[in-house]
C-alpha cells in the first residue's frame, strides 16, 4: 500500500447511509450502507454491473449528488458540493468545442495569474503527451486524445483525489490499453489518490491497489479485494489471471454465468 506516512493528503472516508432517487414512478434505492476508506495515494477501482450505483457513488464523492444520507470526508473535512480538491473525468470527454486544448485544460483556473496559469496548463498538457496539440480544437482530436485533455483538465488544479467514471469505456480496445498504461504513469508522477469506476474486470485488476466490488439493488459493497501484484502488470500472467478470476467470482454468483465455468476459466 502506498500509505507511506509522508504525505497524508488525499484520504477519503465514505459513510453513506442510503441514497435514493425519487421519480414519478416511486423511488429507487441506489446505494445502501456504503462504508469505505481510501488511503492517500491509493488507486482504487470500483467494479460492478450496470445499476449497482458505482457511478452514483463517484458522483457523490465529486459533489455532484448532494441529496443523500451520510457524509463523505476528505482528509477529515466533510465535503459539501464540488471543489477543486477533486478532479473529475467522465466517460465522455465533455470538452468545450469553442476552446482550444490549452483553454479547455485551463478552464477551471480562471483568476490565477496568467503566467502561472499557462505554466501549469503546459505542464499537464505535456504530462498527457499532447504538447503538439496545445492550440488545436476538440473536433480535431481523436477520442483517446480528447480523453487525455479531459484528464489534464482534471489534474491542472492539483486535486488531492482524481475521480474517473468509466473514462476509457468509449475508446477502442487498443487505445484503452494504452490509456490504462498512461493513467498509471500519471498516477505515479502525481501521487494523487485515484478512484476509477469501471465495469471491466481486467481494467480494474490491471490498475488498482484495491478492487471494490459492488452489487446492485440496492447498491452495496459486496467485497473489497487487494491486488498484490507488482507493476507493470502482465495481463497474461498466471497470478494476474487468478486475481481476475477471484474478482469475477465475487461479481457473479455461481450459476449466473454458466458459460464461464470455473474449471476452464
Amino acid at each position: 500500500m502506498v500509505n507511506n506516512g509522508f504525505d497524508q493528503r488525499g484520504t477519503v472516508n465514505i459513510e453513506i447511509g442510503h441514497k435514493t432517487f425519487s421519480g414519478s414512478k416511486g423511488s429507487l434505492l441506489a446505494l445502501k450502507d456504503i462504508l469505505l476508506t481510501i488511503n492517500p495515494g491509493e488507486f482504487v477501482c470500483i467494479v460492478g454491473g450496470s445499476g449497482c450505483g458505482k457511478t452514483t457513488l463517484l458522483r457523490i464523492i465529486a459533489g455532484l449528488e448532494t441529496e443523500y444520507e451520510g457524509a463523505v470526508f476528505l482528509d477529515g473535512k466533510k465535503l459539501i458540493g464540488t471543489g477543486l480538491d477533486r478532479g473529475v473525468v467522465f466517460q465522455e470527454h465533455r470538452l468545450l468545442s469553442w476552446l482550444t486544448v490549452h483553454d479547455n485544460v485551463g478552464f477551471g483556473l480562471a483568476g490565477r495569474p496568467p503566467e502561472e496559469r499557462s505554466k501549469d496548463i503546459r505542464h499537464y498538457i505535456g504530462l498527457v503527451g499532447l504538447d503538439k496539440f496545445e492550440y488545436e480544437y476538440p473536433h480535431q482530436l481523436s477520442g483517446g486524445m480528447s480523453q487525455r485533455v479531459a484528464i489534464a483538465r482534471a489534474l491542472v488544479g492539483r486535486p488531492e483525489v482524481l475521480l474517473l467514471d468509466e473514462p476509457f469505456a468509449s475508446l477502442d480496445a487498443l487505445t484503452r490499453m494504452r490509456m490504462q498504461q498512461e493513467i498509471l504513469h500519471i498516477w505515479e508522477a502525481e501521487r494523487t489518490t485515484v478512484v476509477l469506476v469501471t465495469h471491466d474486470i481486467e481494467e480494474a485488476v490491471y490498475l488498482a491497489d484495491r478492487v471494490v466490488i459492488m452489487s446492485p439493488q440496492p447498491g452495496t459493497i459486496r467485497n473489497i479485494l487487494p491486488v498484490r501484484l507488482s507493476r507493470p502488470r502482465d495481463r497474461t500472467d498466471q497470478a494476474f489471471v487468478r486475481v481476475r478470476r477471484s474478482v469475477h467470482d465475487e461479481l457473479f454468483a455461481p450459476g449466473e454465468m454458466p458459460h464461464l465455468a470455473p474449471d476452464n476459466f
Binding site: 459533489g63 458540493g81 467522465f90 465533455r94 468545442s97 480562471a110
Partner: protein, 279 residues
Amino acid sequence: MSTAEQDRRLIWKGATTASTAKPSGNTGRIYIPDRILGWIIPVSVLLAWELLARLRILPSNWLPAPTVVGQTTYQLALTGDLLKHVGITTARVAVGFLLGASAGTLFGGVTGYLPVARKLLDPSLQALRSVPSIAWVPLFLLWLGIHETSKIALISLGALFPVYLNLSVAMRQVDPKLLEVGKLYRLSGFQMVCRLILPAVLPEYIVGLRSGLGLAWMFVVAAELLGASSGIGYLMVDGEMTGRAAVILASVILFAVFGKATDWMMNAVGRRLLGHRAG
C-alpha cells in the same frame, strides 16, 4: 448507353458533387462546373427578356427591358435620390433590427435561463407571434403616428421573434453534461451564462439573428409600402402611381441586393466567430 445519356449523367454529376476533376480524354462530353450551372437559367431568362422587350413583344410600360431598368437605376443614382432612399431604408432596418434583436436577446436569455420566466412569458410571446405582421400596421399607425416610430416598431417586432425563439430554445437545450463541468469548477450563475451557456448557444443565436435580419427587411417593405415619403418601398409606390414599371423593378432589385448584402455580412461575422468549431 447512348452518348446523350452519358452527357446528361455527367452534367447531373457536376451538379451534385463537388468534383472539379475534368473527365480526361473523352471528347464530345459536356462538363459544366457547379458554379456556372446555377447561372444558366437566370442569364437565359435575362437574355430572352431583353430580346422580347427590344422586339416590342413585351409592352415596355408593363415589363421594360433589363437594360432600361439598369438605366433607370443609374439615373436615380445620378440625381442622388437612390442614395437617399437606400440610406433611409437601411437606417430603418438597422435601428429596427438592433432594437428587435436586443429585445429578443433579453427575452430569449431570461426565458432560456429561468424556467419560471419561460412559463410566464412564452405563452404570451407565442400568441403575439401568431398574429400576421401586417395586421399590426393600423394599430401602430394609430398609436405611433405615420412617422418613423411606427415603422421602427414594426421592423423591431419582425426581428424580435426569431432571435427570441432561437436563443430561448437553444439555452434550454444546452447539454446538462457541460453544465456539470461548470458546476465542478464552482462557477457562479453569471459565470455559467458567460463562460458556458452563451458560447454553447452561439451557433443557434447567429441563426436567429440572420432570420431576424431577413424578417426586418420583409417588414421594412410592408412599413414603407403602407405610408412613407422616402425609402425603397416609397420608391416602389411612387413607381406604381406614376406608372413606371422600371422604377418598381429597380426597387425590387435594390431590396434583393441590400437584403442579401446584409445577410452576407452577418454570415461572414458568424463564420468568423464559429470558424474553429466542428461542422
